[in-house]
Structures are given as C-alpha cells and as structure tokens.
Symmetry: C2
Subunit: 138 residues, 2 copies
DNA sequence: CAGTATCCGATTGGATACTG
DNA sequence: CAGTATCCAATCGGATACTG
C-alpha cells in the first residue's frame, strides 16, 4: 500500500502545481497586458499625475493608460486621488499591495535582463534553421 | 554642483528602471500569453509527449498548444524530439534556460496565491462602489 | 499521434473627438 | 488636465478538417 500512498502524494503535488499555475495565469492575465508593468514601474518611485505617467511610459495612448490605471485601482493596487482644481489634477499612487508586487516583478525582470542575449541567440538559430528547411538551400 | 550630480544619478536610475521595465515587458509578452506558463508548469516535472501536455493543461486547443510549444522552442526554452515511429511520438523537454525560468515564475505564483483573496475583495468593493454611483441608489 | 491550413468570432488597442 | 465614447484595424485563439 506504500506505493498507493506515494501515487496519491504525487497526484496531490501535481494538483497543487496545477492550482499554482492557474493562480499565476490569472495574475499574468492582469499584469501581462501591454502597459501594466510600465505603469507600476513608473509609480514605484512615488505618486504621479496622469500625464506624468503617460510621458514616462512614452508610447501609451491616453485611452489605454486610463484603462490600465482603472484596472489597477479595481484590484486595489493603486489609489486614485482627484483634486477638484482647475485644471483638474489626479494623482495615482501604489498601495501596499501594489508595492508588494514590485519585488516579484523585479525577480522576473532580473531573469529577463540576464537571459535576453541567450534568447536572442536561440531565436536567430531557430529562424535560420527554419529558413534552411524551406527555400534557401534549393 | 553636487545637486546637479544628484539629478544626473537620479535620471540614470530612472533610465535603468525603464530599461528593466522594457525587458520585463518583452518577456511578459512571451510568457504572459494564455498557455505558456501552463506548458512550462507541465514540463517542469520532466519531458512529456504532446498529447500528455495537452491533457495536463486541459482546456487548450491542439492548435494553440502547437504554437505555444513552437514559440518556447524558438526561444530556446524547450527542446523538441521527434521519433519516426508509427504512430509518431514527439517529446518536449525544458532546457536549462527553460528550467531557470521556473524559479522567478514560482516567486510570482507565490505572490499570486498569497494575495488573490485581497484582490478579490478589492474588486468586490470597487464594483459595488461603481454600481452605487449609477443606477442603484436612485 | 502530431502538425498544418483555413475559417471566423472575439478581443485588443490606437486614433479621434467630445465633456467637465 | 483627465476621462469618456466611438470607430476601426490588427491580432488572438477556438473549431474543424486534412496530412504524414
């Protein structure tokens, strides 16, 4: 019966991994969009106004930044404070939850920076090999 | 001139952060799609055949799994080994590079699991507040 | 079994113009 | 200045059918 128990434990481990993957998948759905990490990165150094974030990111459209910040606010990652001045002024700031995300992202970012050259090389090899399987060697 | 130097260092730090964000954004573009982390998760316990990965993930379509694995192979994250048997048999396995990605992902996954309840609550609050600003209180 | 091709609906995200 | 609404092209991804 020891083997049966081992199998069950193995299955349990797999279930657990699968659950982790789903949780990870869900946050990647949120954080893996085009602008979220840029916005979090900009806000990581302190509260900023809408247009400042926009300039820091550079290529983002007005509409997408609004949607990105709204989503972050909904998830409790940023606070939005509107001052009823003329012209209006709206400040965004990371919450504790938002700040707690920075470290995990930094880990991933470290991996990205460290391995980008390797990936670049792998892609070149792959693409070249693919080209040789088609037209070029003829 | 000390202040000028300080400003320059601050700018340099910002540039650096921005570069990190772009690197991070690029790998999230690759890893943040619908199926990549699931595939990496399945392969994290050893080499697997195409259909086994497919069953482990569950909801993925045949086409998307092919595309996902092809992209991972192109980036040097998995190897693909085809055996010319009948029926054919193709095994996928994480490379060292692919395995090195697991830890960063696990960190993020840990964050996700730990903070999902908080996020869930924040969303409820936000959605309820939004509903009260429209029709409901009338 | 694994891979490819085609089709098509759904989602994404930019451009633009308007509002308070 | 910040936010919203509309429009539209591009991309994504599932279903299906066919091939070696």
């Amino acid at each position: 019966m020891a083997s049966r128990t081992a199998v069950k434990e193995h299955d349990a481990a797999r279930e657990h991994d699968h659950a982790n993957c789903r949780a990870l998948g869900q946050i990647l759905d949120r954080v893996g969009d085009k602008w979220t990490v840029m916005a979090v990165g900009a806000l990581s150094r302190g509260p900023l106004r809408f247009n400042v974030i926009m300039r820091e990111i550079g290529a983002v459209s007005h509409r997408m930044l609004t949607l990105t910040l709204r989503a972050l606010e909904r998830d409790g990652m940023v606070t939005r404070t509107a001052y009823a001045t003329i012209p209006p002024k709206v400040e965004y700031e990371l919450t504790d939850l938002g700040r707690s995300l920075i470290e995990p992202l930094r880990v991933l970012s470290g991996w990205a920076v460290e391995n980008q050259p390797t990936i670049e090389t792998a892609r070149k090899h792959f693409d070249e090999a693919a080209r040789h399987l088609e037209g070029v060697p003829a």
